[in-house]
């Protein structure tokens, strides 16, 4: 190897090493999930915690009801209290199913349409039945469900049920 070739090799190799080092540092910095925030799903009411959502006795069988609650939200370095909501439906057997308020298509907030007797998303017209199943529209899956628990007639909403 002559002198020129040696110099060119060193220039190329060191340049590559430096570029790779900076690129790796940047990739870790930008793409890795922050340490204290393991993957969260959209519509998770309180980042995995249980929230009191009201008296079960106030629910009517088969009639979806929107419940509003306060939740703690951690947003990077800020922790704030803000309002959240969920749709709950009481079944004939007394159990309660709770849905994330976000449409499974692109995350818009849907509403219950009395005329349509279904949940209707205003963005792209996805429709879901009272049990969360897809009726029509571009939604890729049924409504996401939250875990529920009833204690002393009080409904508690928990983390999102993991998607299969």
């Amino acid at each position: 190897m002559n002198r020129r070739r040696f110099q060119l090799t060193v220039i190329g190799a060191t340049g590559l090493v430096m570029a790779a080092s900076f690129s790796l540092a940047a990739a870790r910095y930008l793409l890795a999930v922050p340490r204290s925030q393991p993957g969260r799903q959209d519509g998770d009411p309180n980042e995995g915690e249980w929230i009191e959502a009201g008296d079960v006795g106030e629910l009517r069988v088969g009639v979806p009801r929107r419940v509003v609650f306060e939740r703690t939200r951690t947003d990077a370095w800020k922790t704030t209290r803000e309002k959240g909501c969920a749709w709950v439906v009481k079944n004939r057997n007394g159990s309660v199913v709770a849905f994330s308020p976000l449409c499974t298509h692109l995350g818009c907030v849907y509403r219950w349409g009395e005329a349509e007797r279904s949940f209707v998303c205003p963005c792209h017209a996805s429709r879901f039945s009272a049990d969360g199943a897809i009726v029509s529209g571009p939604a890729p899956r049924p409504l996401d469900r939250l875990q529920t628990r009833i204690e002393n007639n009080t409904l508690w909403l928990g983390p999102l049920v993991k998607r299969g």
């Binding site: 020129r4 110099q7 060119l8 060193v10 220039i11 060191t14 340049g15 090493v17 430096m18 080092s21 900076f22 540092a25 940047a26 870790r28 910095y29 930008l30 890795a32 999930v33 922050p34 340490r35 204290s36 925030q37 980042e47 915690e49 249980w50 703690t72 951690t74 990077a76 370095w77 800020k78 922790t79 628990r149 204690e151 508690w156 928990g158």
Partner: protein, 544 residues
């Protein structure tokens, strides 16, 4: 292989035909430089590399940083503690600034010694002096951005010095967003805008001008060197690359081993913090001490301005064409004197800094913890929580993040059933109860506002004393750090008011020293008494 080479050549030719970039690059690389050029000429390239490093790491930081008084510290802390690789990126940026100052100084010294500021290179030198001032301005404006005590107080002093500018002091302070010496939201946004927009724009313009001028006049020959030329590429590029790589390796090593400092949050009411500027400004800080009272403007304005003016006018003050050092003894001596003076002032400033001044490891922050919070720390240690939870760093579960996100109910459930976070009132009864859980929760809530490792610096006697203070009912009557009853006097500042002996006698017989006092007599063992006094005497003078 040759087919790929052929394709690459055709692509390169097409690219060059459209943009001319390869022709320009060849012209840039294939020019003659003095045969005497070599390792002394690498500092300019290193400075350019460091600027690019600062720009890159600065951009990464800006993607996670919030430049407001209320969010700057927390976002900096978020970068350091929670963003993967955040501590490395910030440390690269922090130490890169120090490396930059050193390299720029060495580059200027080399140019000075080679007489490369003389005709016809006056404009090149002047552009370089402006770049030096811009480098220092980066240091000044960036210093505020972490939002910790060091940043805040350092900037208060800086803006007040700027306000001393004769005739225009008020205007300068207003421009800096620090009217009436107050550092606030406007100061933050102005310093941030200067640091990430104005100064980088100026840097790009001036570096471009500087390089264009260097190309125009060529690299200066070494004093006394014989004529003769060689090609810039690959010889000088090789030396530049090696020097840059050594700098890169040193920077990564330092940044990996020594984290950029981040003290406790700025507190305008904190009277314990000792402000200090960054190390390369310490000489100015020390200079102030040599000019007290009415002479102060000499140190803050006259001398620094004079130095800057001399630097600018140097090519016009020293017009002799002579380059050899043997004929420029005065110039070389002046450089040595400046270096020696800077070193002497800096060392004096370092030696004169109190141990608790300007560092992250000040004891003040744990002294403000309430007895309940200290008791929580004591329970943390005694109940073996440290087996899984490390207070010094995030490993394996960030207590700081948990403290910010989880409510007291979750924490209490976790303390009693660590293997699964039961919902409130969920499966199983709590296994323990009593004062420990609220105290543990109270302690955990302090973590977001404490510097890393601060809980580890609380002396054991202080913890034992806090437990005793609560256990013996002292806080029913007496407040410590704002927590407790108001029947008896608050105990902050006790160390300044009473001696140790007085306090010990007071425990035994309060009425003998405080006639009419309702306090009952306490009989402690010697270790108990020592621990309690340690706790009481650790309380700062002012309650929060």
């Amino acid at each position: 292989m040759s087919r790929w080479r052929g394709k690459a050549s055709r692509v390169a030719a097409s690219l060059d035909e459209t943009t001319g970039v390869l022709t320009a690059a060849r012209r840039f690389l294939d020019h003659d430089i003095p045969a005497s050029a070599g390792w002394p000429q690498v500092f300019g390239s290193i400075a350019l590399f460091l600027f690019l490093t600062q720009a890159f790491t600065g951009l990464l930081l800006a993607l996670n940083y919030a430049p407001t008084p209320s969010d700057s510290y927390n976002s900096a802390r978020y970068i350091m503690r929670e963003v993967t690789g955040g501590a490395l990126v910030r440390s690269l940026h922090h130490w890169g600034a120090s490396f930059m100052v050193v390299v720029v100084a060495m580059h200027m010294a080399q140019v000075f010694l080679y007489g490369a500021y003389k005709k016809p290179r006056q404009a090149t030198w002047i552009a370089g002096v402006v770049l030096l001032l811009i480098t220092l301005a980066y240091g000044l404006t960036g210093y505020l951005l972490p939002g910790d005590a060091r940043a805040y107080w350092g900037t208060v002093v800086t803006t007040r010095i700027a306000a001393q500018t004769p005739l225009a002091g008020g205007l300068v302070a207003r421009l800096l967003g620090a009217d009436n010496g107050a550092v606030g939201a406007v100061t933050f946004t102005r310093f941030y805008a200067a640091h990430v927009i104005l100064l980088p724009l100026l840097t790009v313009l001036l570096v471009g001008a500087h390089l264009a001028l260097v190309r125009r006049h060529g690299i200066a020959r070494a004093p006394g060197a014989s004529p003769g030329t060689r090609k810039f590429f690959p010889g000088q590029i090789f030396k530049d690359t090696v020097a840059i790589f050594v700098t890169f390796a040193a920077l990564f090593l330092v940044a990996s081993l020594v984290r950029a400092p981040l003290g406790y949050p700025a507190d305008p009411a904190d009277d314990t913090f000792v402000p200090r500027p960054e190390w390369y400004f310490l000489f100015l800080f020390q200079l102030l001490k040599l000019f007290p009272g009415w002479l102060e403007p000499f140190a803050t304005v006259v001398l620094p301005s004079t130095a800057v003016v001399v630097l600018f006018l140097l090519p016009f003050l020293d017009r002799k064409p002579v380059l050899r050092w043997s004929h420029r003894a005065a110039s070389v001596m002046a450089l040595c004197l400046v270096a020696a003076g800077w070193t002497w002032l800096t060392v004096a400033a370092v030696r004169g800094t109190p141990a608790s001044g300007g560092t992250e490891a000040t004891p003040a922050e744990w002294r403000r913890l309430t007895p309940e919070q200290l008791a929580g720390l004591a329970y943390f240690q005694s109940d073996g929580c440290g087996a899984c939870h490390n207070l010094d760093d995030w490993r394996p579960f960030s207590l700081e993040a948990i403290a910010r996100r989880k409510g007291d109910g979750w924490l209490a459930a976790h303390f009693s059933h660590p293997r699964g976070s039961a919902p409130p009132g969920g499966a199983g009864r709590p296994q323990q109860d009593g004062p420990k859980f609220p105290a543990l929760s109270a302690f955990l809530r302090t973590l977001p506002s404490l510097p890393a490792g601060a809980p580890l610096r609380v002396p054991q006697p202080v913890l034992a004393g806090a437990l005793l203070f609560r256990g013996r009912g002292c806080e029913v009557c007496h407040a410590a750090n704002g927590s407790g009853g108001k029947i008896g006097p608050a105990l902050n500042g006790l160390a300044a008011r009473r001696t140790r002996e007085w306090v010990e006698r007071h425990f035994e017989n309060p009425q003998s020293l405080s006639p009419g006092s309702m306090m009952p007599a306490y009989h402690f063992t010697v270790p108990e008494r020592d621990a309690l006094v340690s706790f009481l005497f650790a309380l700062p003078d002012g309650a929060p």
